[in-house]
């Protein structure tokens, strides 16, 4: 189910079955293995081969969508009928100028790694066992997940557009748990050679064993924070939902509305959707078949554009950004390859320049629905929160609750690291987030994790 001929055949049969002047289809096949571990034991281990077809039929500029995981002729015909029925009951999308027709050449990128696609479960288990053994030497237990796999994507439409690409992913998350604290490290890569599981284990262990003899408390207030890439990535996941999508722009909830072209954030803040960067997680097209390009969402603090599928771009009279990741989705565009530009600092320089602040490894359970017009969010810190005093990391802190407007925070970025890291996102098989370390002034801490009175 992963080969090009099969995938494009499914697309062709679906478009034939549509019996419509306009239709487009997307086929996604996944072959993955996810090894989850806890207490330094591999406790959940799964492999999956699955595929799905989504068919969108356009009747008088009105759309209907149906999805199936079966590809025999009867099922495809039934899926087409469901999509047609939905389209017949739908209404024309205002401004819609038809499906993509230009069929431009795709960017030439290498998105597949044979070595990653062929990693066997036993190979991963052996590497995990070595990491577990190394952790025991330091009285550390590990929890986490190591996911590898290949994704095949085909897209096509009734205007002759046909696309096919394969990509691979190699994603590991490691939590090191010691007697007095935990640490965390994560990375997503396209190639097996780009990810060193043992190094991630060592990185997490370093955080778990840092300042274990010194813990302090912190009163609520505004502090300088140094955020590691996973912390920024969690915030950007929410920005993607509440601020970057075509839907949030059209319905008025995004802080981009009324602010395009304005310098709302710091001049050192540039965030793009970039699936062409060979050092990130490259992919050549979106599900509507449009060639991917680098799209600057925020450029030197100036808000440039939300991400838009073609349907919503037509509706809004804007340019599509090739960000349709599912046909007919309510988001009408999502940034699956968020890339924040780095600066010229190092993490160590940021720490040295901080008089009284917090070094944050990651966030937990962020929610961005508090006040979307200012991107007010809340969450807690997790797996390594440290107090910085007079330029040195001096103590472990409890997990802290924060409540912070991201519009305000991204206007207060003091420095960014040169080095960036790619972090995976749970909702996204094609991409992730690439972010530097950021030092931000005046981050609002509102509480902390405490067990309360015991009884």
């Amino acid at each position: 189910m992963n080969d090009e001929r099969f995938a494009l055949d499914v697309i062709a049969r679906a478009l034939d079955a549509a019996h419509a002047n306009e239709a487009d289809a997307a086929y996604v096949a996944v072959d993955q293995n996810i090894s989850r571990f806890a207490n330094s034991q591999l406790h959940q281990n799964m492999s999956e081969e699955s595929a799905s077809l989504t068919l969108r039929v356009i009747v008088n500029n009105a759309m209907g969508v149906a999805t199936t995981t079966s590809f025999d002729a009867d099922e495809i015909a039934r899926t087409a009928e469901l999509a047609r029925e939905a389209a017949r009951h739908s209404q024309p999308v205002p401004g819609f100028r038809g499906l993509y027709r230009d069929n431009e050449p795709l960017p030439e990128i290498d998105s597949f790694d044979d070595a990653t696609a062929s990693i066997a479960p036993a190979q991963k288990a052996t590497a995990l066992r070595a990491m577990f053994d190394r952790g025991r030497e330091h009285h550390i237990e590990f929890a986490g997940a190591h996911a590898t796999g290949a994704v095949s994507v085909a897209a096509g439409n009734t205007h002759g557009v046909r696309r096919f690409a394969r990509t691979t992913f190699n994603d590991a998350t490691v939590i090191a748990i010691g007697a007095h604290g935990s640490g965390y490290a994560t990375q997503r890569a396209l190639r097996a050679s780009q990810l060193d599981l043992a190094a991630l284990g060592d990185e997490a262990t370093l955080k778990a064993t840092l300042c274990t003899d010194r813990s302090e408390d912190l009163a609520p207030g505004a502090y300088d924070v140094i955020l590691e890439p996973p912390a920024l990535a969690e915030v950007f996941d929410w920005m993607n939902m509440i601020a970057f999508t075509g839907q949030s722009f059209e319905d008025g909830s995004s802080f981009f509305v009324g602010n395009l072209g304005k310098q709302l954030l710091g001049t050192n803040v540039t965030i793009a959707d970039d699936s062409l960067d060979a050092g990130f997680l490259p992919f050549p097209f979106d599900m509507e078949g449009l060639p991917k390009r680098r799209v600057a969402l925020i450029e030197n603090g100036v808000l440039r554009t939300p991400v838009l599928d073609k349907t919503w771009a037509d509706r809004l009279g804007m340019q599509p950004t090739a960000n349709a990741w599912s046909l007919g989705s309510s988001e009408h565009g999502a940034a699956f390859h968020l890339s924040m530009s780095g600066g010229d600092a190092t993490r160590e320089e940021m720490i040295r320049s901080t008089k009284h602040g917090i070094w944050v490894t990651r966030f937990n359970y962020v929610n961005g629905l508090l006040e979307p017009k200012t991107a007010l969010m809340t969450g807690t810190t997790r797996d390594g929160t440290f107090l910085i005093r007079d330029g040195e990391v001096v103590a472990r802190l409890p997990n802290l609750r924060w409540t912070q407007s991201m519009v305000e925070a991204l206007a207060n970025v003091e420095s960014l690291s040169r080095e960036r890291r790619t972090v995976g996102t749970w909702y996204n098989m094609f991409g992730g987030t690439r972010a530097p370390v950021a030092k931000i002034r005046g981050w609002t801490i509102t509480g902390k994790q405490e067990r309360g009175s015991s009884s």
Binding site: I34, S35, R36, A38, N39, Q41, L42, H43, Q44, N45, M46, S47, E48, S50, S52, V65, A66, T67, T68, T69, S70, T79, L82, A83, A86, H89, S90, A120, A122, A125, T126, L128, R129, A143, G144, A145, I175, D251, G252, S253, G328, N364, Y365, N367, L370, E371, P372, K373, T378, T380, R382, N399, R401, W426, T446, G447, Q449, E450, G452, S453
Partner: protein
């Protein structure tokens, strides 16, 4: 297309000499209808078929799944599960014990009066248009929308202990919302709940009973009033939490921390652990004497109900918190022995393509004896909050912050001003111990939440929570 019993049992036999194995097949059907600002925003159908094979070899679990339900592919998937189990044995030294369960051969279907798929799309659209169009007109109403969703999952389970179980659940959900925007102020009101509304294991009769059109003007007016309302104050107040919001409070601060896999550290990599540790069982003061929280997978018509879990264990009803004391976890066959207990039947997977893990069923705060009107009348100075807007809780499920769509000030036993953007925060046991009044059966309602996330890959589970309104003393707001 549904595999026959003989075929599934043949697959199990093909695995050879294993400690345990099961094979599941699911066909999951969904239809989603959404209207927005007088247009059909989204109209989509999905059919997802999957087969999953789970096998225990030695002390290693292996799981493999496929969306191709042909006989040949299912057999290949079974062989892959064996390969994965062998790999697990390379990096696991723990002893896995499965609690006992009797073999069951059974068939179960949830009940409905009117099949969701028998209702024509045009009727669903007409219903949503009738509910949303009256909300439009005021220029500050930027968006009105309505959702109706239909869900059906057919599941077949066969295991090496001889069980063969067929289950079908049919569910519907519906809701409406109004979004008001004015000079940078953004307010949303929904009925009966955000994110698609409320969900029950019923048919079209549930949508008729919701009566979305009847509530439309009320939520529109509240969204408009919220634009000009004062912000909910910061400080410590007596807090009355309405049924819908309290249902989510139960979900986050009781449902998740009583999942035994979390307490054992098995979910730390994604969702986190739990402050409720096994040594606390039977004596830890989770809440006040008035707090009784029950897991009940047997409630007819609720989306957290079933007849057997995905271990083949019968659905059950049991206390998690009794008279304020923490007394039990949600468990499965391979976790319950850690406590020296047998599974209480809470292991489920989103589809057959995912590993079954411990999931909430219907986790309910049992009703008390105080009518809602008396709760308010008995409060001198406080805040009443209702309908969730935002939620966040730490990795041990201790420190939480919830935002609600709407609040009202309470002064001298009466609801007075409408307040916007209420936030309340606290520590789970301290919060539940401050509960000094629990609403009666009249204010108790069961709420379906179809979007509980857990696991890796992320599994979205359909769970439910019954809750009345309740009062909590001296809660931090803002």
């Amino acid at each position: 297309m549904t595999p026959e019993r003989a075929q599934l049992e043949d697959v199990l036999r093909s695995l050879g000499d294993v400690r345990y194995a099961d094979v599941r097949y699911t066909a999951t059907h969904a239809q989603d209808v959404k209207v927005r600002n007088g247009e059909v925003d989204h109209l989509a159908s999905t059919v997802d078929r999957a087969v999953g094979v789970r096998v225990l070899v030695g002390n290693g679990w292996g799981f493999a799944a496929t969306s191709d339900v042909s006989e040949e592919t299912i057999r290949r998937t079974a062989r892959r599960a064996l390969e994965v189990a062998a790999a697990s044995n390379l990096a696991s030294t723990q002893i896995i014990t499965l609690s006992d369960v009797e073999p069951h051969v059974a068939r179960w279907e949830s009940h409905y009066e009117i099949d969701p798929w028998s209702v024509p799309i045009e009727k669903k659209l007409e219903h949503l248009m009738n509910a949303t169009e009256p909300m439009r007109g005021d220029p500050r109403i930027h968006q009105v929308s309505g959702d109706i969703s239909c869900y059906r999952q057919e599941k077949v389970f066969a295991s090496t202990i001889g069980s063969f179980i067929e289950q079908t659940t049919t569910q519907m959900g519906g809701g409406i919302e109004a979004v008001a925007i004015d000079e940078g102020e953004f307010q949303r009101r929904t009925y009966p709940n955000p994110f698609g509304g409320d969900f029950q294991a019923e048919g079209w009769e549930f949508i008729e009973r919701l009566d979305l059109p009847k509530k439309a003007l009320e939520i529109r007016d509240e969204a408009l009033q919220l634009l000009a309302a004062s912000k909910a104050p910061a400080g410590r107040f007596d807090l009355i939490v309405g049924s819908a919001q309290l249902a989510l409070q139960v979900h986050e601060s009781c449902g998740h921390p009583t999942e035994l896999d979390r307490a054992m550290g098995l979910e730390i990599s994604l969702a986190g652990g739990s402050f409720l540790q096994p040594q606390m069982l039977g004596h830890f003061r989770y809440g006040s004497d008035l707090v009784n929280i029950v897991a009940d997978a047997t409630i007819p018509g609720s989306i957290g109900s079933f007849a057997f879990d995905d271990d083949g264990v019968p659905a059950q009803r049991f206390h998690l918190v009794r008279d304020g004391t923490f007394v039990d976890y949600l468990t499965g066959r391979d976790t319950a022995p850690f406590l020296g207990r047998v599974s209480n039947g809470t292991v489920r997977a989103e589809t057959a393509a995912r590993i079954p893990i411990i999931r909430m069923t219907n986790i309910n705060l049992e009703p008390g004896t105080t009518p809602l009107a008396d709760l308010i009348a008995d409060t001198k100075r406080g805040i009443f909050v209702e309908t969730n807007k935002s939620w966040s809780i730490d990795d041990l499920r201790l420190n939480f912050q919830f935002g609600c769509e709407v609040a009202w000030e309470i002064e001298n036993g009466r609801l007075t001003r409408l307040l916007k953007n209420p936030l309340y925060t606290g520590n789970t046991p301290d919060f539940w111990r401050s509960c000094d009044a629990v609403g009666d059966r009249a204010s108790w309602q069961i709420w379906g939440l179809p979007n509980c996330g857990k696991g890796d890959p992320m599994q979205t589970m359909r769970v439910a929570h019954g809750a009345p309104a309740a009062r909590f003393r001296n809660v931090e707001m803002g």
